[in-house]
Every structure is written in C-alpha cells, then in structure tokens.
C-alpha cells in the first residue's frame, strides 16, 4: 500500500520540481483528451507550446496576454502571502478599465501624450477603490473577504454593462453596446512598430522587481508575510494585521486596476461588455503556479498565456471549443496542489500484509531472539 510519510524537512528540490511535475501531468491529460476527441495530439501540443513562440509576432501576442496576468498575479501573491483571500481581482480589473476609460474619453485632438499617465493612474485608483470596499467591510465588519470580493466581480460586470449600454454608449456606434474608440493620443506607446506589445510589459516587469524588493528586502514586506504564516507570532511581535490587510488589498487592487487601464488604453482602445475575459481568475492560478514568488510569476504567466493562445488556435484550426483553455488552467492548479504534497511528504511503498502482521504479532527478529 502506498503511504505518505512526513519529511523531516521540506524538500527544496520538490518545491521547484512540483510545478514542472504538475505541468507534465496536465500535458499528459491533454494528450489523452485530444486523442479521445480524435485530434492529433502532436499537432495540438504544437499549438500550445510551439506556435506561441515561433515568430516575433507570436511572441508579441504572448507578451500582450502575459502582461495583465503578471500584474494581477503579483498583487494576488501579496494577498495570499498575507493570508488575505482576495479572489475578486477580475472585478478590480474591470473597474480599473472603467476608470481609465473615463479619463481616456476626455481626450481631445489637442491633448498631449501626458494623458496616458493620467489614464493609467485612473486605472490604479479604480482598482484600489474596488479593493478598498473589500478591505473596509472585512476590517470594520469582519465580513468574509472571499465572498465579498467575489460578489463585487458581478457588481463590477453590471457597472460596465450599465455604462456601455447607457450613458457611455457611442452615439455613432450603430446601437452596439460600446464606448467611442479612444483617440490615438490615449494609446499606450508600443514597443515595436507593427507589433501589439506595448510599454505595459516594461511596467509589469518593473513591478516584478518592486514586489521582489518589497517582499524580501523591506520590513513591511516581512511583517506582511509573518502575518500570513504565523498570525499569533505576528500579533505577539506587535505587527498590525489590519495594516497588512489594507496594504495587501490596496496593492493588489491597484495592480489589477493598472492591468485594466493598460488593457483599455492598449489592445482594446474602447470599452465593450467583453472587457472581462477571466484574467482575474487565471491570475489566481498564475500566482500559485509561480509559487507566490515575483520571478516565478513571470514564468507561469507566460505559460498561462500559451494556454490562451493555444486555446484560440485549437478553436480555429481543430474546431475545439475555446474553453479548453479553462480546462487546462484548472487542471494545472489541481495537479500543482496535489504535487505540492510531495514537498512535505514522501511516498513509501508499504506492503499491506506485512504492516498488519507487524502491528499484531512480534516480528521475526524478536522471535529469533
């Protein structure tokens, strides 16, 4: 019988191997699934792991999708490390996009390029406002942050719907639920001509550095992590859990809002009801698969955007539903959690009959003695 046995020390090797093992498991299930559906698994795997890398254009698209995932997942990592279960990043992303769009629509042909900065700041503020509601209700009324942040996703969705169907609807938009197309001056500058990847990628990478410094080189970051790992020790040391709560939620709301602003003034260029595409939920997986570590998050965000692009290709070329992306994302997190068991445990083979006899009768050595 297989038996789990606690390791005396957490295995460092396993903590790095576990995400890779989880990926291998997910790919294995994927191959099985494609074969069952009668699709060539090799071709399918190429779509997920080769096509997104094979040309500058493909790499640019990969970066466009990875940027919001990195930003949102960084904030979620701060939250999860401090044991704050913010799972409403999708809502904070939406409100960030809404605030940013509010500023972007003020632009006139004479507006200067500075407006991009104002747009992104508005996005950050929007995300923070939405997360602050969660922080306030948790702090003042002890309301469960998981449920509150999640309910606010639905509310944010309705807010977006109200604006694009109502007051912000483009009068020249043939009655489609969408805002005007933002003027060119509001566009986040692109890095290369002809490719969609923009300055947002650099902003995201800068945030990776900032979060790393905050988590591992500042006292506030240390306090936040202790509060999550050992709440009683943190209280004994006089660290304020309230401050950590606010800090984590405002930072993660701000980062999700920034991602929303970058999307609105970047690839989207207008608001439609289809702004939310699940980045806020996928980022939960990105954060966990990246070990809640800023550098790990970059890798897992790239992986996750490969899933997105692969899913789109599987739809157009293999005729599979696009939601296959969601299946793989969920599977990846599931297998990661299962594989993480091996960090603190090892598997031992223990023959059932022997172990039972050992428990009831003296062993042969004792008999011999």
């Amino acid at each position: 019988m297989l038996k789990l046995e606690a390791r005396p020390q957490a295995s460092r090797a396993m903590s790095i191997a576990s995400p890779l093992l989880a990926l291998a498991l997910t790919v294995g299930v994927g191959v099985l699934l494609f074969s069952l559906l009668g699709k060539d698994p090799v071709r399918a795997l190429q779509m997920f792991f080769w096509e997104p890398l094979k040309s500058p254009y493909a790499l640019s698209e990969l970066a466009v999708k990875a940027t919001p995932l990195i930003l949102i997942a960084l904030g979620l990592a701060l939250c999860f490390r401090s044991n704050v279960w913010n799972i409403g990043a999708e809502g904070q992303f939406i409100v960030g996009a809404v605030f940013a769009a509010g500023v972007a629509m003020q632009a006139t042909p004479d507006t200067g390029r500075w407006i991009v900065v104002a747009i992104l700041i508005a996005g950050v503020v929007g995300g923070m406002v939405w997360a602050a509601v969660v922080a306030l209700l948790r702090d003042r009324f002890n309301a469960n942050e998981i449920l509150v942040s999640l309910m606010l996703v639905y509310v944010a969705d309705m807010l977006l719907g109200y604006l694009v169907y109502g007051p912000w609807k483009d009068p020249q938009g043939y009655n489609f639920p969408q805002t005007i197309t933002f003027l060119d001056v509001t566009k986040v500058p692109r890095l290369f001509t002809g490719l969609r990847v923009n300055v947002g990628l650099l902003v995201a990478l800068a945030m990776v550095g900032l979060c790393w410094v905050f988590l591992f080189r500042t006292y506030a970051g240390f306090q936040l992590q202790v509060g999550g790992l050992a709440p009683q020790a943190a209280r004994y040391a006089g660290f304020s859990s309230r401050r950590s709560l606010w800090l984590a939620l405002l930072a993660s709301g701000g980062l999700a809002g920034l991602a929303g602003g970058l999307e609105a003034a970047g690839p989207l260029g207008q608001l439609t009801p289809y702004v939310p595409v699940g980045y806020g939920f996928a980022a939960i997986i990105v954060a966990f698969v990246g070990r809640l570590h800023p550098v790990g998050i970059v890798f897992s965000a790239v992986l996750m955007s490969m899933f997105y692009i692969g899913g789109e290709l599987a739809q157009s070329r293999l005729g599979l539903p696009k939601s296959i992306t969601g299946v793989f994302q969920g599977l990846l997190l599931f297998s990661l959690l299962a594989c993480d068991t091996l960090i603190h445990h090892r598997v031992r083979w223990q023959p059932k009959a022997v172990s039972r006899r050992a428990a009831t009768s003296p062993t042969s050595e004792q008999k011999a003695a």
Partner: protein, 308 residues
C-alpha cells in the same frame, strides 16, 4: 398588484430559492464536518451540464437529477481526497475546483447551447392546488421544491437528534476528540464532502433542467457562491438556510418583477441586486463576532492529521 400577482410572486420566490436551498444544505453538511468547499460554483456548473445533457438524451428528469448528483459527488470526492488525505489548502483546492468546473462545463456544454428540452410537466397537488391564493402560491410546484423542505427537516433531525449527526458535528468541532474516541475522522469527512457535493450537483441539475431550462456558459452565475454565503448567513442552522434561500429567491424575483413593471431603474442595477444583497447580509451577520461563532464549527477550514 392584485392577489393573483402576489401569489405568482410567492410561487416564483419558492422556485428560485429551491436551487440555493438544496446547494446550501449540501454545503452545510460539508462545513459541519469542518470542510469549506469553495468549489461549489464549479460543482454546480458541471452538474448542470451533466443533468442537462442527460435530460436531452434520455428525456427523463429523474435520470438527469441522478446524473447531476453523481457528477457533483465525483468532483467533490476528488476535492475531498485532495484536502483530507493530501492535506492541501482547502481554499486553494476549492478555487481550483471552481476554475476547473467553469472550464470543463463550458467545454462540454458547447454542443448543448442550442438544445431545447421538451415541454415541462405541470405539477399540482390535487385538492390543495384549487384553493384560492394559497393554491397557486404554494401547491403548484415541481416536487423538488418540496424535496428542499423535506431535506431541511431531515437535516435538522439528523444533526440534532441522531447519533450519526452528533458524530458528524464532533468531527467538525473537535476532530482530535472524535479521533481519540475511535471514529474514522477522515472517512467521515470525505463522506460529508461527497454528500454535500451530491446535493450541490442536484441543485445544479434542477437549475438547468427545470428552473431555466436551458444551458448557457456560466449558467450558475454565482449561485454556488451565494449558497456558500448562505451557510454563514444561517449561522450553520438548516432552518435558517431555508429561510435565507427564500429571502434571496425573493430578491431575485423582485428584480424580475420590477424589470417587468418598467420601473425607471437601470436593469443592470436590478441584476446586481442579489449580489449586493449578499454583501449587505454578510456584513450584517458578521458584524457581531460572538453571534456568528456560537454555531460555527470550531475546526472549520482547519486540516486534521491523525497520529502526527
């Protein structure tokens, strides 16, 4: 509004509350055993597809309910093994289940978005259904509406009047003591998780087969999360779960009613009402920490490793 309209509103409220009640009762069993299952939304989505597909192919509602419950039980069992034997984080695993369920249901469900179920049977309780006002309000429902009521009574009796219920509560309050008394804590917890999953699945199938009856991506639309909130709202008491479910059913129906009346409120605000109501209710309930803790299972969300 005349009395006939009020009767219809009451009937619609009971119908809308039934989905929430069945799912929340399932989650209550879970949580009484000490396990929080944040995967309820995903469970319900997969069960809704399973139920709907079964109904389309077999034409039998009963088979559809069985398929939904089975799908819920299987997914919940996977979650249970993960959190109970492998000691993974309950919150993270539940989230994984929710995300996986959302993806899987959308993937499998694509081919059922165009499908339609045949005309739904009409149910009446003979005699009682003919009563004025009360008849149309209370006695012309799908049997599942009464099943939710019966489940509430049965669960109350089970938890507070039966020996097995006492053991289940002990497992959620103090797994160490239950273990010391010789009860197989982990197996009992798994049993509770599977039973809870089956009920969530039943609720999902009822939603797609009877309540709507159709399948679209994301059909459950947060009802799993609202059911989770309901267990807190009810401070883990079955009767209050039922009450809360009908209250939320009422809010949902009020929203449709106001939209139908052409009230000058943006429809999106009305659609957001159930979610806003959930937040408000959570705040009102959680405000008083002692009150919420009276019935809260003491080991809720905490892992248990026997013999370590």
């Amino acid at each position: 509004m005349d009395s006939a309209a009020i009767a219809l509103l009451i009937a619609a409220t009971l119908n809308a509350g039934t989905v929430l009640a069945i799912a929340a009762l399932g989650l209550l069993i879970n949580e009484r055993a000490g396990i929080v299952n944040l995967g309820a939304e995903g469970l319900m989505l997969v069960a809704a597809v399973a139920g709907f597909a079964t109904a389309v192919h077999s034409g039998s509602d009963l088979l559809a309910f069985a398929a939904g419950a089975a799908a819920g039980a299987v997914l919940a069992a996977a979650f249970g093994v993960l959190v109970i034997w492998l000691n993974t984080n309950q919150y993270a695993s539940g989230l994984a289940l929710s995300l996986f369920g959302a993806g899987l249901s959308a993937f499998v469900g694509v081919r059922y978005t165009q499908e339609k179920l045949g005309p739904r049977a009409h149910y009446e309780i003979p005699g009682l259904a003919d009563l004025p006002f009360i008849g149309p309000a209370l006695f012309k429902h799908h049997p599942m509406v009464y099943v939710a009521l019966a489940l509430t009574v049965a669960l109350s009796w089970f938890l507070y009047r039966s020996r097995a219920g006492l053991v289940l509560r002990a497992v959620g309050e103090s797994p160490e003591s239950a273990h010391a008394l010789g009860y197989p804590v982990r197996r009992l917890r798994l049993l509770a998780v599977v039973a809870g999953g089956a009920l969530c699945g039943l609720a999902g199938a009822y939603l797609s087969v009877i309540y709507t009856p159709l399948w679209v991506e994301g059909l459950v639309a947060g009802k799993g999360w609202i059911a989770l909130a309901l267990t807190t709202f009810a401070t883990w008491r079955p009767a209050r779960v039922l009450l809360g479910a009908y209250l939320f059913g009422g809010v949902t129906m009020l929203q449709f009613h106001l939209q139908g009346q052409g009230v000058q409120i943006p429809s999106q605000l009305l659609t957001a009402l159930p979610y806003l109501a959930t937040v408000v209710v959570l705040v009102l309930i959680s405000r008083n920490p002692t009150w919420i803790r009276i019935n809260m299972p003491a080991s809720l969300g905490k892992p248990f490793h026997p013999g370590s």
